[in-house]
């Protein structure tokens, strides 16, 4: 017993699943690469620069804020990069680069880090950043006028000037074919270019166990039911705008969706209803971002209302013998 063995101790369990937060975030990032490539295919440098600027801003913002808050940067968890990519995919290619940068700064700096960091943020950071820019529109247009010189002219890409499918839908214009809308159609934000490639990414995340079916199915199901009731074309509503991106990637965000199963369904149905309310009732707004953000705010309430009973409370156990207990 004189040669002390080198022994490692820790609390149980001594086996751990391989999945970590960093791996999961990285997988979501990977799942978004196909649609990002489609947007670059359509919008060339405009898309590439928007994406690049957002990624870079996200990383710098996280480092800056965590330094200020005296915390270690946690770039290895991929959450900053992922937020950056999400913000980029929420903007059309015509967006000036500095607008995308401000949105990313707000997303990572304010909506994530100042809220207490990953896990404590109540609202989806990327959507928060995107919507902040809409709400701050007067300020933004002021800056716009001051800094007109900052625009980079990369030559024209003519697909960028045409109406977005969502606008076409509102104005009752003739819509592109379903196939085109589904596989790849240039219009709207970068992440709206291809529901098909978004679905491939979502399938990968489903296979990896990072997202479940409850939230996307209840969002999309609600959209179909409500559009049918309102006499709209459900397929058009499914295929246009950021519905696919929102339903599969953003509403399913771990941190900002309910952790109860019934809660997920309620959350999804409410988002679907809000999307239709915005799109049909308050046309022409894109309701996906607002719908998800609004419901993010209700998550604690939904969770409280949908907690299950613990083991042993579900049914009264039956003692076969005396029957009284």
């Amino acid at each position: 017993m004189n040669d002390k063995k080198k022994l490692v101790v820790s609390s149980a369990p001594h086996l751990r699943d391989k999945g970590t937060v960093g791996n999961a975030m990285r997988d979501v990032f990977i799942a978004l690469i196909p649609v990002s490539l489609v947007s670059i295919y359509f919008f060339h440098w405009y898309a590439a620069i928007t994406i690049g600027v957002c990624l870079l801003t996200a990383v710098l913002t996280e480092v800056l804020f965590r330094k200020m808050l005296k915390k270690e940067p946690t770039l290895h968890d991929w959450s900053a990069l992922l937020t950056g990519l999400f913000v980029a995919l929420l903007f059309p290619a015509t967006t000036p680069w500095w607008k995308a940068a401000i949105a990313t700064f707000i997303a990572v700096g304010i909506a994530k880090e100042l809220m207490g960091g990953l896990g404590r943020n109540r609202f989806n950071p990327a959507l928060f950043g995107r919507v902040a820019l809409i709400i701050l529109a007067p300020l933004i247009s002021f800056i716009d006028n001051q800094f007109a010189a900052l625009y980079i002219n990369l030559g024209t890409v003519d697909v960028m000037t045409q109406a977005t499918p969502l606008a076409m839908l509102h104005q009752g214009m003739e819509m592109p074919g379903y196939g085109e809308l589904f596989f790849a159609f240039p219009g709207g934000a970068l992440g709206e270019t291809s529901p098909f490639f978004l679905l491939i990414g979502a399938a990968y995340l489903f296979y990896k166990g990072h997202i479940g079916w409850r939230i996307p199915v209840s969002i999309l199901g609600t959209v179909v039911v409500l559009t049918l009731l309102l006499g709209e074309n459900p397929l058009h509503h499914l295929l246009v705008g950021s519905l696919a991106l929102g339903a599969f990637f953003m509403a399913t965000d771990w941190v900002t969706s309910p952790f109860t199963n019934r809660g997920k369904v309620i959350f999804g149905i409410a988002i679907g209803a809000l999307v239709i309310l915005f799109r049909v009732g308050l046309a022409p707004t894109e309701g996906v971002a607002f719908g998800i953000l609004i419901m993010n705010g209700f998550v604690p309430m939904i969770e409280n209302a949908t907690t299950r009973y613990q083991f042993g409370r579900v049914r009264k156990a039956v003692a076969v013998t005396s029957g009284e207990e």
């Binding site: 017993m1 490692v8 369990p13 699943d17 937060v21 990953l118 404590r120 900002t256 613990q310 076969v320």
Partner: protein, 441 residues
């Protein structure tokens, strides 16, 4: 017969191949044994011997007057060298009787009783005298368990042969090699409890044990049950739910739903106690893992120092290693190897450097819901971990921390690597204090 699965739970890698084909074998005797006076839930024993006394193998050396307790015996003959407080595998310090083992072994006399003639009282007395405790890890005195309160009659006996913990194979080998004794033990338990139906539950990754027992069993009152292989199938409440479709209420005991669960190893010990008046002085321990030279299922004398046992199995291959008393999901990692093997130790899992992680760095809960999805007690481990970490024990209590069976699934699946079980273990005594002070006012 087949049983349904319970809700929650996960598939963990089995890692059973290291030892599942190894027959139970003996090892060289240690030079010294350490017998803790408390190897069970309940009152510790008082020593019945003094320093310098000579003891025989099987001699009772510690006992207690309390109802909930179990006597301890010398597992080998020798001289008591000291009676002192020593650290045991749980990390606690417990009074222990240390015995220097003789070269020439001397044992007490064993009886050979006629099992047809034993009465209920004989069975209870033999089990009590033998110091039998739950050998699946629970360590609850068996003599207490087989005397259920009169207002809570038991109508179903479940024998737990699931062995759902990864790596461990001792129960598997017992069912294969001691099938006759096991079936006899079950009949004795049925008799003492007045129970007509007994179910021997075995996970379907041990088909050889299922067919062995089905072949040997000729009693219509004993049913061999095949359960799905899913962790934690062998947890008492989950097993009752799966076998009988009865749910033990929160804070309740199997008695509350007319059930009683015994580990298969315990049933064999009961048989030996009643038949031969043999005390519990040895047990089968699985010594296993990627990092032990010769994995196996060893018949170990109670009190054998861990280091001796590991050396007899070829020693640890590579350092730094992690030596876990028990299986990897619920076992306790050991700081040193001087601790003794006690009655409830099912196995020793020796993990290699690549798997020997210390306390992991963890993040905030990212609310992924994986732990919620998989918790077999249908709790909210995420909430428990948040309130436990913050020291908010009233909140932790509201989220039913006291119902946690510490199966380890939540921490296993958590992508943020949160040490949820550790938080639970820290919170439970605090919540107990809260509850006690509430009851006193």
């Amino acid at each position: 017969m087949e049983v349904k699965a319970f809700l929650g739970g996960i598939n963990v890698p089995h890692y059973k191949s290291f030892s599942e084909k190894q027959e139970i074998k003996e090892i060289k005797l240690p030079q010294q044994i350490i017998i803790p006076l408390s190897q069970h839930i309940g009152a510790p024993c008082q020593p019945l011997v003094r320093e310098g006394d000579r003891v025989k193998a099987g001699q009772k050396i510690g006992d207690s007057d309390s109802f909930v307790s179990a006597p301890v015996h010398a597992s080998l003959s020798g001289t008591v060298s000291s009676i002192e407080d020593k650290k045991i595998h749980s990390g606690e310090k417990v009074q222990c009787i240390v015995i220097d083992v003789d070269k020439k072994q001397e044992s007490i006399e064993y009886a050979d009783n006629d099992l047809e003639k034993v009465s209920k009282e004989d069975i209870v007395k033999a089990v009590k005298e033998a110091g039998i405790v739950g050998m699946g890890g629970a360590a609850f005195p068996t003599a207490v368990k087989i005397q259920p309160p009169p207002d809570k009659p038991v109508d179903a006996l479940i024998l737990n042969g699931c062995e759902c913990e990864p790596y461990l194979t001792c129960d598997h080998r017992i069912m294969l090699e001691k099938a006759e004794e096991l079936l006899q033990g079950v009949k004795l338990l049925q008799k003492v409890l007045d129970v007509k139906k007994a179910y021997i539950c075995i996970e379907d990754n041990k088909m050889d044990a299922i067919s062995e027992l089905s072949e040997k069993n000729d009693d219509p009152g004993i049913v061999i049950m095949k359960t799905p292989t899913k962790y934690p199938q062998g947890a008492e409440k989950q097993l009752i739910k799966a076998t009988l479709d009865r749910e033990v209420p929160p804070g309740g005991l199997p008695f509350d739903v007319g059930a009683l669960v015994q580990n298969v190893g315990t049933a064999v010990a009961v048989y030996e106690a009643v038949k031969y008046n043999k005390p519990l002085l040895e047990r089968v321990v699985t010594v296993t893992g990627q990092n032990i030279a010769e994995p196996g299922n060893i018949m170990v004398k109670i009190g054998t120092p861990l280091e001796h046992l590991l050396n007899e199995c070829g020693g640890i291959k590579e350092e730094p290693a992690k030596v876990v008393m028990g299986g990897p999901m619920t076992g306790v990692a050991q700081e040193d190897l001087e601790v003794p093997v006690v009655k409830a130790i099912t196995g020793i899992t020796v993990l290699p450097p690549a798997m020997a992680f210390g306390e992991l760095e963890y993040m905030e809960c990212v609310r992924c819901g994986k732990c919620v999805e998989d918790c077999p007690m249908l709790l909210y481990p995420n909430q428990i971990s948040i309130y436990g970490e913050a020291g908010m024990y009233e909140q932790a209590e509201k989220w039913n921390t006291m119902d946690c069976i510490e199966c380890g699934i939540c921490a296993y699946v958590c992508p943020a690597q949160r040490p949820i079980v550790k938080f639970v273990q820290q919170a439970k005594p605090q919540i107990q204090n809260l509850q006690n002070s509430r009851n006193n006012t």
